[in-house]
């Protein structure tokens, strides 16, 4: 590896990192700038007077606290449900393979969501569940189930059945063996899968857009989108809302980074 | 086909010093075996020669050329890896042809050479197969074919037989030796297996902890080891060692309850009272059922019948002495025996440094 090549490579990586971080940094500065600074030309990168006005604006005046809560509730409940049901199904499919069933479960991920939005809308309206967070919890559970099954089945397949069989010889039921012996072993896999489910649910837009009719069931993405019209965007509010929407993801990425990468790559490489 | 010179190579990996000031010459067309226990640095030495590792200090000379700074692909050496390192997505033909292809050799010429190499290693019928469809022995022959298909400056072997089962290993050993002899390419062969070490090389180099312990023809290294490590490493079962002292007055070597008579020459070389360690190989320990003059008494600790010989461990004094005997001599546990060390096959080492004092 010659010196010039190495230098070029490092430079390229530096450019990539900058290209990734600069826009995010910009958004953060926008959220903290006074209106007059936001429109300054040439743009101000560092030298401006920060203000929290936009953050207080979105939470006090524009109900973003509600959206935040809705997003968090929908994401966490659906993740828990998807994990519970998906792991059970994945375990069963790993130990007693049923290729047909597995194919059906996994193929539901392939459907374009847009195919289901019309019938789902009609179904929810009929059931009186429109504009409710419960609807989103259900939808996101269904959304994440195939993914959970796919990931966890792979991990269970890697685990030899010897341990559960030993536990059952020692007197456990199958469920007890799963709970006490197997699950602790696949904890990192569960963590990675949970992290992904949370991120996917948190970021989801189309279904949330369909379900939400009023502020009651609005999630963060929909709340933000709703403020974006053809003609005018409130820059301060939007950037503050954007930062709020992004922060949990950052936190998660930082905490779960190692697990997520390992989990996704293992799942993908095994295909 | 040139002489290779490794001059004072040093290489460190983190806290470990894999090579310490290591020097070795490989003659033109010679087959040199590098032997040593795991972790002694022999693989590092080989990879440094290949260019896969860069030494921290020292030089590598190919003939007159200093190749220390050169990349592997500029050195024109061929390497046979322990795990064969075949290209999984190419078939046998393409694997063997790869070195020629990257040198942009003309297709008809490349084709001819590949088939010639394949024929030589009995692979003619397998050219369309993929590595995963081959057995271990077949893969190994493909790796060899890939090495011989060009005329490189040197062959580098990294324990190529260690993943084969025992019988195959013995067969391949003979084939390898024959092959190298026919091609006449300078070769460095790394192994931890002594049978390979003894049989394959014209010279044998023993390595320990990054340093060269001894180099010479196998018979010489076997019968005149330069130190206790080499003496104990070569030979199976291993040489017996008894630490003790020279008793000049009684003209004998004393170790615990055992005493072995010494000649005048012995005494002169070793010195009275010197702390020495006696070494004697199992094949040089004589075992009899009745006592004789100067023989040592003992009891059979373990007896293993190998078919062509018996391996005995005899408890004599506070030692357990390994012996090899004729197959007819069948002995039971605890049977009383007498042993004697052949006086003309004794080795003596300085107890503290391990250096050989005799022969």
């Amino acid at each position: 590896m010659n010196k010039l090549g190495k230098l070029g490579g490092t430079a390229a990586l530096a450019v990539a990192v900058l290209a990734t971080l600069l826009p995010l940094y910009w958004l953060a500065t926008l959220s903290l700038k006074r209106e007059v600074d936001q429109f300054a030309v040439p743009p101000l990168w560092v030298s401006f007077q920060p203000t929290w006005a936009h953050y207080s604006d979105i939470f006090v005046n524009r109900n973003f606290g509600r959206y935040l809560w809705n997003s968090a509730a929908a994401a966490s409940v659906s993740t828990l449900l998807a994990l519970a049901m998906g792991t059970a199904a994945a375990y069963s499919l790993a130990r007693r393979p049923r290729p047909g069933l597995a194919f059906w479960i996994l193929s539901t991920r392939m459907f374009p969501p847009v195919v289901s939005i019309v019938p789902l809308f009609l179904m929810l309206r009929w059931a009186g569940l429109l504009d409710s967070i419960a609807a989103l919890m259900l939808l996101y559970t269904a959304f994440n189930l195939p993914f959970v099954v796919w990931m966890m089945r792979g991990f269970f397949q890697e685990l030899p059945p010897d341990l559960e069989e030993a536990a059952m010889m020692d007197g456990q039921t199958r469920l007890g063996a799963l709970w006490r012996v197997v699950l602790p072993l696949v904890r990192p896999a569960l963590a990675a899968t949970a992290a992904f489910c949370l991120v996917i649910a948190w970021n989801e837009f189309l279904f949330a857009l369909i379900v939400a009719q009023t502020d009651q069931a609005m999630t963060l993405p929909v709340g933000i989108a709703g403020r974006v019209t053809q003609y005018e965007i409130k820059w301060g509010a939007m950037s503050a809302a954007g930062v709020v929407a992004m922060l949990p993801v950052f936190l998660f990425a930082a905490l779960m980074q190692k697990h997520m990468v390992r989990g996704l790559s293992l799942g993908a490489v095994k295909g | 086909m040139t002489q290779i010179r490794l001059e004072r190579l040093s290489k460190r990996f983190g806290a470990t010093l894999a090579l310490r000031d290591f020097s070795l010459d490989i003659e033109e067309s010679e087959f040199l075996v590098l032997l040593g226990p795991s972790g002694c640095g022999k693989t590092t030495c080989l990879r440094t020669l290949a260019g896969l590792e860069q030494p921290d200090s020292g030089r590598i000379l190919l003939g007159e050329r200093d190749i220390t700074g050169l990349e592997p692909r500029q050195r024109d050496m061929a390497m046979v890896f322990q795990s064969y390192a075949l290209y999984p997505h190419l078939n046998v033909f393409e694997n063997i042809a790869f070195p020629l292809l990257v040198r942009k050799l003309e297709a008809p010429e490349a084709d001819r050479r590949v088939r010639e190499a394949a024929a030589r290693l009995d692979l003619a019928g397998l050219l369309e197969r993929r590595p995963r469809e081959l057995s271990g022995g077949q893969r190994q022959r493909v790796a060899l074919a890939r090495a011989i298909v060009r005329r490189p400056n040197a062959f580098l072997f990294d324990e190529p037989l260690s993943n084969l089962d025992a019988k195959l290993r013995v067969d391949m050993r003979a084939e390898l030796k024959r092959l190298q002899h026919e091609l006449g390419v300078t070769s460095l062969y790394v192994t931890h297996d002594q049978a390979e070490a003894m049989t394959l090389g014209r010279r044998l180099a023993v390595m320990k902890d990054g340093v060269l312990a001894q180099v010479g023809p196998p018979e010489e290294v076997y019968s005149r080891p330069a130190n206790q490590f080499v003496a104990g490493f070569l030979g199976s079962p291993a040489m017996n060692f008894l630490a003790g002292r020279v008793d000049g007055g009684a003209r004998r070597f004393v170790s615990g309850a055992l005493a072995v008579p010494l000649t005048a020459e012995h005494l002169e070389r070793l010195g009275d009272g010197a702390p020495v360690t006696l070494g004697v190989r199992p094949e040089n320990v004589e075992v009899e059922r009745q006592s004789g003059d100067g023989w040592l008494p003992g009891r059979v600790w373990v007896s293993e019948s190998m078919g062509n010989e018996n391996l005995l461990v005899v408890e004599a004094g506070e030692y357990r002495v390994r012996c090899r005997t004729a197959p007819e001599m069948r002995l039971e546990f605890e049977a009383p025996v007498w042993i004697r060390f052949r006086p003309d096959r004794l080795h003596f080492f300085d107890t503290s440094s391990g250096r050989a004092l005799w022969p």
Partner: protein, 284 residues
């Protein structure tokens, strides 16, 4: 425990998942079939017939394919380049990888809002910086101009989703065995030859999966276009999903929208199937 009892036991483990998926993924699909076939006088293929003549639909389909092809090509090339760069050993490697992954984890809506702000022709930081360097930006209206809208939207997609391909390709690279690469350099191959003859062929399965997954997601793109351009200006960035949404929830034409979504489903499945078949034919 009889064999039949244990079979039932195993099925019970999958029951909750099957129930949820059945109700919320499969049933809606069947329901959608029904809706798409509902016409004024009972059932019929009216919607589909209308679809075949709908020029706007075909345009949106064409734009979707163009969008997919362009974004995929760029994301693959950049993702591969990044994966190769990050695959070497160097300090801060973990950190760099973590940073590069961030965009794909962000809500697409937020990313779209962010870039809409950046690309704002008058006050956005992109034009602002260009102007600061003395360049003329009057003609550069990015998402507001017909000829640059699609490009801008594609670039936003590339910014957000290159990390996805980067991640998969990096995982693939790291899963490759080391020894054949050592053998290749000893055999005399140059860096380019190693890349072309070893790296790429051995990566083929991972590349295929990556391209397939991302390709299918691209065909269904919605979130960022909704925010960035709403399909405009005019029809310049209208993708199929956007058209379907508009038909269903602006014009309240559920039947027609359902029919369209099936065509989309058919298109995606066909592409996926063709792709997989192509993959299986070539020697792995």
């Amino acid at each position: 425990m009889t064999a039949r009892r244990s079979e039932a036991g195993w099925l019970a483990w999958t029951a909750p998942a099957l129930l949820v998926l059945g109700a919320l993924s499969i049933y809606p699909l069947l329901f959608a079939v029904e809706i798409s076939l509902r016409t004024a006088g009972g059932y019929g293929l009216d919607h589909f017939r209308r679809l075949a003549a709908d020029r706007l639909f075909l345009v949106s389909l064409g734009q979707t394919l163009l969008y997919t092809a362009a974004a995929l090509a760029l994301e693959f090339a950049l993702g591969l380049a990044l994966a190769l760069l990050v695959n070497r050993e160097f300090r801060l490697r973990r950190l760099v990888r973590a940073v590069l992954l961030i965009p794909m984890l962000l809500p697409p809506v937020v990313v779209a809002v962010l870039w809409r702000l950046i690309l704002n022709p008058e006050f956005g930081v992109l034009n602002g910086t260009l102007r600061g360097w003395g360049l003329e930006t009057r003609g550069l209206t990015w998402v507001a101009a017909e000829n640059t809208a699609l490009l801008s939207v594609i670039l936003v997609d590339v910014w957000q989703w290159t990390p996805f391909l980067f991640l998969l390709l990096l995982a693939g690279l790291q899963g490759l065995p080391v020894e054949p690469f050592e053998a290749a350099v000893v055999d005399g191959a140059s860096r380019w030859q190693v890349f072309r003859r070893l790296t790429l062929p051995m990566l083929r399965p991972v590349i295929a999966i990556a391209v397939l997954l991302r390709g299918m997601d691209l065909l269904r793109v919605f979130d960022q276009i909704f925010i960035l351009t709403q399909g405009g200006p005019g029809f310049a960035t209208e993708t199929v999903t956007l058209y379907i949404y508009r038909t269903a929830f602006r014009f309240h034409n559920f039947g027609y929208a359902a029919a369209m979504s099936f065509v989309l489903l058919a298109a995606t499945t066909t592409v996926a199937r063709a792709f997989l078949r192509l993959l299986r034919q070539q020697p792995a």
